[in-house]
């Protein structure tokens, strides 16, 4: 008995030490989680052996930008920055030396983060290994390389300020809205852009072409958006990369691999609740599918039968967890078919996650189908089994392929 009392006294003592040590550790883990939510590594880690030392090249319509070294290295990283410098970069898009940041660094989203999250994130960043790696971030051609032009850009495209909860909505909805608009910065890819590369007003999350892929419509539009996806479909996609409609591929594969699969379940649920409720400004009229008698549809059906139906099934039904269903799939109805063309022509490999390690691949058909045939089969799947979308021309296929080479 005495021994156990002594042991518990020691345990008490230890736990009081532990509770004192706790806040720092908690702040560090919170900061690390925020970095995961914000997927900092997407642009700031090129070599996994050199985390956050920058170097990821980002192709924008204006030219190439390169992710900065954000390790605390004093010479090439942000080792001489103060917390206020960091906060200003994150919330105002102005760097340590007063240089304005390009919108590719999604400060337009991060501005929504509250002070506490920024403090936690900063605390964690101080614990990173300083790595010496000079990075020339601005590789844009003239005149886009002139940073003072960004004053105008900001004036048009940037609204500063922390996320303001909608009191009429639940805490869960507000958390989801915050994650999507703030650290998750979903709109950076999924919101249509204006001529300056800023978000188009009133079009949030309605889909956009990014790095040769189409980041699809995430509104609750039933034809093109997530209207048909259940909340569980959204959670499963973000957690495992796989649901009945899709296996994450292209840039989204990286987003799942590095970010969303690590999100807390509560956060994924909140995002799903929010996305399911975020209606488009107006639901576009559902287009009529092309007639099955259309010559393109007939050719497409033939090719589909010969090349695609073995995996995706003759009825477009797909196979669970491995070959996505094509029937009644909003991803096929996007206004731009670039992702579909690309995947048929060049193939693609799905993401691998702990839950679904398979990472199945779509084979490339550019070697066996010509441009008109690829156009026909993409047109066919976009206008069959409940899908309806604009036909694709051989010329569009040619253009997509040219960019791939």
């Amino acid at each position: 008995m005495k021994i156990s009392l002594a042991v518990s006294a020691v345990a008490l003592l230890l736990s009081s030490f532990a509770s004192q040590a706790q806040p720092d550790y908690d702040q560090y883990t919170r900061g690390r989680y925020i970095a995961t939510l914000a997927d900092c590594s997407a642009c700031h880690t090129r070599d996994p052996q050199q985390p956050f030392a920058g170097g990821v090249r980002l192709q924008t319509p204006f030219g190439t930008l390169v992710g900065a070294n954000i390790t605390p290295d004093r010479e090439t990283g942000i080792g001489t920055w103060s917390y206020d410098d960091f906060r200003r970069a994150m919330t105002e898009g102005i760097g340590h030396d007063g240089k304005r940041l390009y919108g590719a660094m999604p400060f337009t989203a991060y501005t929504k983060m509250p002070e506490k999250d920024l403090q936690d994130l900063w605390a964690w960043m101080q614990t990173l290994q300083p790595l010496y790696q000079p990075v020339e971030t601005n590789q844009l051609p003239f005149p886009f390389n002139i940073r003072t032009s960004l004053m105008v850009w900001n004036w048009i495209n940037f609204t500063r300020g922390e996320y303001q909860p909608d009191a009429k909505r639940s805490a869960q909805w507000n958390r989801g809205a915050y994650l999507v608009a703030g650290p998750g910065h979903c709109g950076t890819c999924h919101t249509p852009k204006n001529l300056l590369g800023g978000d188009k007003g009133g079009k949030a999350l309605q889909g956009e072409v990014v790095e040769g892929w189409y980041a699809p419509d995430l509104t609750s539009d039933p034809h093109r958006g997530l209207g048909k996806w259940s909340q569980q479909d959204i959670v499963s996609y973000l957690r495992t990369g796989v649901n009945r409609y899709d296996i994450a591929s292209g840039p989204m594969a990286d987003a799942v691999r590095h970010s969303t699969r690590h999100w807390h379940d509560d956060d994924l649920q909140a995002v799903a609740v929010y996305l399911k409720s975020s209606g488009p400004a107006q639901v576009d009229k559902v287009p009529q599918p092309l007639a099955a008698t259309d010559a393109r549809m007939k050719l497409g059906a033939q090719i589909y039968g010969a090349k695609c139906s073995a995996c995706h099934r003759p009825d477009g039904g797909g196979e669970k967890n491995i070959f996505p269903q094509l029937a009644d799939n909003p991803l096929l109805n996007q206004s731009d078919a670039i992702s579909l063309i690309r995947v048929v022509a060049a193939g693609s490999r799905g993401v691998d996650t702990d839950a679904h390690p398979t990472a199945p691949a779509m084979p490339a058909f550019a070697g066996t189908l010509d441009n008109a045939e690829i156009a026909a089969v993409v047109t066919f799947i976009r206008n069959s089994w409940g899908n309806a979308a604009a036909p694709v021309s051989a010329d569009e296929v040619k253009q997509v392929k040219a960019k791939l080479e």
Binding site: N321, G347, H356, A361
Partner: protein
């Protein structure tokens, strides 16, 4: 030679057996290093649907097989001959690269029957010791059906094996194989749908009173996610199956069922294009200390390890043991030594049926879709007075009639010219064949040893195969093929070719890759190399796993049993060996 840091476990070979054990031991938390002599292979990159349907590349040029320049075997029929090296694979197809021969296998996944694990005892009890032909050296496995069954189940669940159980926990089910041992559960996926040829055969067999069943197959019949979370897609009968890697994620192999999960584990590392040269032992010879290997740059490395698992193909398992001086090399003259003894093969027989008015669409096929009967397999029929033992699995499994190799021609067709073309055209669609994959029983002079004349590029002797069919097996082949011919006759073909195995073993025509034995399991260290846990007698931290452990070969395909043995060895290591490293069974 550079020495690497010590690891807990080194596994040689990343085919079925190696991947299974590496994964199980990684789950145990051990640091596992896998060493594979061939390249990394992966469905997405290597078996793309756009390029995989290439008969020239995969069948004629044997892309997935071990390069004979890298390593081959020498062969002879009996000890009085001088063996010559095989410079191109014929009789069998050793694999290479991650997935091993499990990439290009057919997918047929039988469990051996309960009596096979105690074959010598069983035949002695049923027919008397004097009935067993003198030439045969049959042995028991030192294990039992009851010990094997849970591990067969594990393997089938990983592979997604499709089929229809004939015996679940003793309850017989019509439509399944009535001869199979009692299973603890059904197949993970339902049987594949049957093409016309197998359907016709099953009907004929049923009319003769036999009980046909769908051939158990590790080509899944529906989308299947295995216990590791890895997903496979249903077989589409594309016909590019045996000798090919599967483009549809339908054929189970280490690369489609295990490696995607295994490669994610931080405590697992794979070295590919790295060939193990030797298993090292300490000065007592009773403790393995690791392996040496040579990488693709020609650099030699030593990888020390606490536990060494040898899980290469049959030939390389045995050769590595001979090269490393583990166990005593078998000598057929003195009948002493165990390393290399009881080598056996498979006895391939078939009957080809030519019809006039049938269309089999023979290009529809898969390595393991079909119907079979087991009335004339193993000891499922009374052998009293027949003068032989053993039998074969009789079945129709259309593998897909590829354009270069499939030339069904009736007897007396000219070898070239207009008549040859006409005959081919007339018979392409309307020919089918019934196979009989039959047992191969071991004899004293069928064995594996190091070749005294031929060496590999590293200067190590090649493995020498000394093998010929036992008189027992040739008698069995005549008898069983006769039974196949009876069924064939009842199907009223225009004409047929009946081809039982006859004469001497030839290394030229493909027969099967089912080479077994040479480092066999058993309960007596004087006649076996490993105990029932696949642990090497006298070297308790060394396990040798694969078909090299079979004391003889029944009339079934070996892979299901190779998989089950791998799980069995892993189970023993996890549950017994790691708790008390040492001999799990004392001799």
């Amino acid at each position: 030679m550079k020495k690497l840091p010590k690891t807990d476990v080194v596994v040689i070979g990343l085919g079925w057996a190696g991947a299974i054990i590496a994964n199980e031991l990684a789950d145990e938390g051990l640091e596992v290093v896998g060493i594979e002599r061939g390249p990394w292979r992966d469905t997405a990159r290597d078996f793309n649907i756009g390029t995989v349907t290439d008969e020239l590349r995969y069948v004629m040029r044997e892309e997935l097989m071990l390069r004979t320049r890298q390593n081959t075997c020498t062969m002879r029929n009996n000890p009085s001959q001088t063996a010559l090296p095989m410079r191109t694979w014929g009789s069998f197809h050793p694999g290479n690269g991650t997935g091993g021969a499990g990439n290009h296998w057919a997918g047929i996944t039988f469990r051996f029957q309960p009596e096979e694990f105690r074959l010598k005892s069983h035949l002695t009890e049923r027919y008397g010791a004097s009935a067993i032909p003198d030439e045969l050296v049959l042995q028991d496995w030192g294990t039992s059906w009851e010990e094997m069954e849970p591990h067969y189940m594990q393997f089938e669940r990983v592979a997604g094996t499709s089929g229809y159980a004939g015996n679940i926990q003793g309850e017989k089910r019509p439509g399944g194989n009535p001869f199979e041992g009692a299973r603890s559960g059904d197949y993970p996926t339902p049987p594949l749908r049957q093409p016309y040829g197998p359907t016709l055969f099953a009907e004929a067999a049923r009319n003769m009173g036999y009980q046909p069943f769908p051939v158990p197959s590790s080509l899944v019949s529906e989308a299947y996610t295995n216990p590791y979370g890895v997903t496979m897609g249903p077989c589409t009968f594309c016909g590019f199956c045996t000798n090919y890697g599967c483009a549809n994620y339908s054929k189970a192999s280490a690369i489609t069922t295990i490696l995607p999960a295994l490669m994610r584990k931080e405590n697992f590392t794979a070295y590919t294009n790295s060939e193990v040269l030797e298993v090292l032992t300490d000065s007592t010879g009773r403790q393995a200390t690791g392996v040496t290997y040579i990488d693709s740059s020609g650099d030699k490395w030593e990888q020390p390890a606490d536990l060494v698992i040898v899980a290469a193909f049959t030939f390389e398992n045995v050769r590595l043991m001979l090269l490393s001086g583990i166990g005593k090399a078998y000598d057929p003259v003195t009948n002493q030594g165990t390393t290399g003894r009881n080598y056996a093969y498979q006895t391939a027989n078939n009957v080809t049926l030519f019809f006039d008015n049938k269309n089999f669409n023979p290009f529809i096929g898969a390595g393991a879709v079909g119907m079979g009967i087991d009335e004339f397999n193993n000891d499922n029929f009374d052998h009293s007075g027949l003068g032989f033992f053993g039998g074969g699995s009789i079945r129709v499994t259309p593998i897909g009639s590829a354009p270069i190799g499939y030339r069904p021609l009736p007897p007396n067709t000219p070898k070239w010219g207009a008549k040859w073309k006409r005959a081919l055209k007339d018979n392409y669609l309307s020919t089918m064949s019934i196979g009989c994959e039959a047992s191969s029983y071991t004899t004293r002079t069928n064995y594996l040893s190091l070749d005294p004349n031929y060496k590999d590029p590293h200067g190590r002797p090649l493995l020498r195969i000394t093998f010929d069919f036992a008189a027992n097996d040739l008698k069995m082949a005549q008898y069983c093929t006769g039974k196949v011919a009876d069924i064939a006759k009842s199907m009223n073909p225009r004409e047929m070719i009946v081809k039982p195995m006859t004469g001497h073993w030839s290394s030229v025509p493909y027969q099967s890759s089912h080479v077994v034995g040479g480092f066999i399991m058993g309960s007596d260290p004087s006649t076996s190399s490993v105990n029932k846990h696949l642990q090497v007698w006298d070297v308790p931290n060394l396990f040798v796993v694969g078909a090299s452990a079979f004391p003889q070969n029944p009339g079934y395909n070996p892979t299901g049993t190779v998989g089950a043995l791998a799980f069995k060895a892993a189970h023993a290591i996890r549950h017994f060996y790691l708790k008390r490293p040492g001999e799990m069974i004392s001799a």
